[in-house]
């Protein structure tokens, strides 16, 4: 048995271990689960070392003599003060920096990419000029977005005509969830197809070519 075949058998064994959870929780599943957590954590450590620490920190610091890189190094080490109760507050400095950067970047990303750009995309003509289907679609998009936003408006009771609009909004949301449901089914089935390909094809070689 060469190393490649051995790999496929090992993969098949663990695949079956995890599928056995469908019957019920059992020692094989538990074994596979723990092996997986261990391997994936170890995978991450090695990858961070080879793909981040060496090229982005170690080489600039030692080979190019960029002493400024000591700053992120110290900030990184500070994170580990969490394990020492007395000085654990120091880790907040690094966390503060990370959270600040992510918040700043997120504000810009959501503000420009989602908020303003999406409003721009929904300013559509409701009459004149276009063919009927486009106008019909524009009406649906405009009414749909407006009523959905009304549904998520919390400063006014959903009563009277405002309530009716909110009701229309929830119907649009339900349509939207339905589409998501359909697509989720598609996604999950694809993953299973992929696994069966592996079991029947790569492992057992019983699939027609």
């Amino acid at each position: 048995m060469n190393i490649e075949t051995l790999g496929i058998w090992l993969g098949a064994f663990f695949t079956l271990c995890i599928l056995s959870f469908l019957y019920k929780d059992n020692p094989f599943y538990k074994l596979a689960e723990h092996v997986f957590v261990g391997i994936s954590a170890g995978y991450g450590v090695a990858l961070e070392f080879q793909n981040v620490f060496l090229p982005n920190l170690w080489n600039p610091l030692t080979k190019e003599g960029k002493l400024i890189m000591l700053v992120p190094f110290v900030l990184g080490v500070l994170l580990f003060t969490r394990f020492v109760a007395k000085i654990s507050w120091l880790s907040r400095w690094s966390i503060g920096l990370l959270i600040g950067i992510y918040s700043g970047i997120a504000i810009i990303g959501f503000g420009s990419g989602d908020l303003v750009a999406q409003i721009h995309g929904n300013l559509l003509p409701l009459w004149g000029g276009n063919d009927l289907l486009t106008l019909f679609n524009n009406w649906i998009l405009t009414v749909g977005l407006v009523t959905c936003l009304i549904y998520f408006f919390f400063s006014k009771e959903h009563k009277g005509s405002f309530g009716i609009l909110a009701r229309v909004g929830i119907y649009f949301l339900m349509l939207s969830f339905g589409a998501s449901f359909g697509y989720t089914v598609m996604s999950r089935m694809s993953l299973l197809i992929g696994r069966f390909y592996f079991l029947y094809g790569d492992w057992l070689h019983i699939l027609p070519q």
Binding site: L22, Y23, S40, Y43, G44, L47, E48, Q50, N51, V52, L54, P55, N56, N59, P60, I101, Y102, I105, A106, I108, G109, F110, S112, G113, D114, A117, Q118, H120, G121, S176, A179, S180, Y183, T184, V185, M186, S187, M189, S190, L191, L192, I193, G194, R195, F196, Y197, Y200, I206, L207, P208
Partner: protein
Amino acid sequence: MKRLLETINSLDRRYIFLFIGLAVSLPLFFPIGIKFTVTHPVQGFYNTIEKVPNGSKILMSCDYDPGSAPELYPMTISALEQMFKKDLKVVITCLWPAGPPLVEKALAHVTPQYHKQPGIDYVNLGFKEGREVVMVSMGASIPNTFPTDYQGKPVSQIPIMQGVTNFKDVAMIVNISAGYPGTKEWVQQVQSRYQIDLVAGCTAVSAPEFYPYYQTGQLKGLLGGMKGAAEYEKLVGFKGLGTRGMDAQSISHLTVFLFILIGNLAYFALRFWKGKASR
């Protein structure tokens, strides 16, 4: 009849598991080959790459892991096929840790038939931690963000990376994404900042969420799930893993539809009966 309905209504889920397992397996053994057409978002994906002048450089970010490989790996293969056929040069990055080995696998699969050289026609820059910060950082400088390729070779020694400083030096971005960080962040942080053409292939779970981006043109094309991969394979001109999975996909969807139908019929019929009995 009533007993049958009650059995259906309280069926052990393991029987259902068995049934769906069969519904997915059988079409793999007995393929039918149902035909299908190509939808607009997929055509957009293909056309945007096709429009790029030969010899240009393209940035491809493979942000996924084995958890969604059956959907996204076929897309990676087809995209590489299309780009290599057109003699485009591909710079590949990963923002998901488990991405780079999958990229290596895809490259090993595609490159031999097109006689492409590593470092000259393509490069796998590997993984960087930092999610959207990496994107913003690449906007300032790609070589500073990725000082070496996946194997640790400095980018200054890689021919394809000469003259690549930031997004201005690539013709467009192809993103294959399974979630966060992925398509949404590429739109928010890169497309809306640098106005660069962006196409995305993503899992079916997240595809509906990206239709608004497709409608506004923030995405020029969109492949959703294995069906998207299959349509794209049709355009590129070969039958890969996506196309081969379509029969099983069709049958499994029909099965789920039947499940919803039968489940509801049993439920409501039983309620109707019980209502009658108590009256």
